[in-house]
C-alpha cells in the first residue's frame, strides 16, 4: 500500500505520539523519507508544539503563588481537616 500526502497528514499527531500501528507507521515513514513537504509539516508541527509547551509562553503573574498560599492558609485555617461535608460535588 502506498499512501499519499493527505493520508500522511491524518497520522501526524499519532506519529508524534509514537501511537501508530506498525503497518501504518511503516507506510508513513516510507512516505516521509521521500516527501519534503510532509517532512516539513511534521517538523514544523513538532517544533511549534515544543515552543508552545515552553513555560515562558504562559507566564505566571508576579506574586501568584504567594497569594494562592495566603488564601489557602486563611481559609483552611478556619476549616480544619477536610471532612467531605458541605463541599461541592467533585468530578470523580
Amino acid at each position: 500500500m502506498v499512501i499519499d500526502c493527505k493520508h500522511v497528514w491524518e497520522h501526524i499527531s499519532g506519529y508524534l505520539d509514537g501511537d501508530l500501528a506498525p503497518e501504518i507507521l511503516e507506510e508513513v515513514q516510507k512516505h516521509l523519507d521521500h516527501c519534503g513537504i510532509c517532512s516539513a509539516i511534521l517538523d514544523s508541527t513538532r517544533n511549534i508544539l515544543i515552543l508552545t509547551a515552553d513555560e515562558r509562553v504562559f507566564e505566571l503573574p508576579l506574586g501568584y503563588s504567594d497569594r494562592l498560599h495566603a488564601r489557602l492558609d486563611a481559609e483552611i485555617g478556619g476549616m480544619g481537616a477536610p471532612d467531605g461535608r458541605g463541599s461541592d460535588p467533585v468530578p470523580f
Partner: protein
Amino acid sequence: MSAAASAANTGCGREARKIASILAGNTHEFHELIRPYERGAYVMALSMLKNEADAEDVAQEAFLKAYRGLRSFRAEAKFSTWLMSIVLNEARNRLRRKNAVQMESLDEPPGTETRISPTLLRDWREIPSETLERMEVRSMLRDAVSALSPIYREVLLLRDVEEMSVGESAEALGISQAAVKVRLHRARLMLQKRLAPQLKKMNSKRGWFGWL
C-alpha cells in the same frame, strides 16, 4: 517495571501518603501537595477565561474545592487528573456565570467533520526555543492557542503543555481516549496551519539569532 513507571508509582505513593496525612489533620501539608500543580491550574484557567485576574481567582477556588473534597478523592485516580478536572469545571462554571451570552460553545464546533489541511511547506528551519525571549513570539503562540475552540484548547493544554497521558486527559475531560486523540490531532494541525506561516515569515525576514 520501567524506571519511569517506578518513579511515577513512587510519586503517587508519596501523594497518597500526604493526602492521608492531611485528612488526619496535618492540613498544612496541602500546600506542599498542590505546589507542582499551581502553574498548570493557572494556565488552564487562563486559556479558558482569557483574563489573568479571573484565572487566578478560579485557580484559587479550584484548590479550595479540592481541599474541601479531598476525602472524596479516589486513590485509583491520579491526583493531578482529579485536580485538573476540578479546575476545568470551575473555569467552565465561571464562564457560564460571567458571560452567558458571549460564552464559547463547549460543544463540537460546526464543520469539524471536515479534514484540516496543514500549511504546506517545502522545508522547515528549526526555530530555537531562545526565540521565546521575544515577547512577540510568546504572544503569537498564546494567541494561536486562545484562538482554538475550547474543546481543542483544553485537550492541547492537557496533553502538550501539562504533558498528561491520553488516558489522564480523557479522564479529566470526561471523554473517551479516541475523542482525545481526534481532538488533539485537529488542535495540533490547527496550530501548525496558523503558526507555521507566521513563524516562517519572521524567520526568513531576520535570522532568529540576529535579533535576540
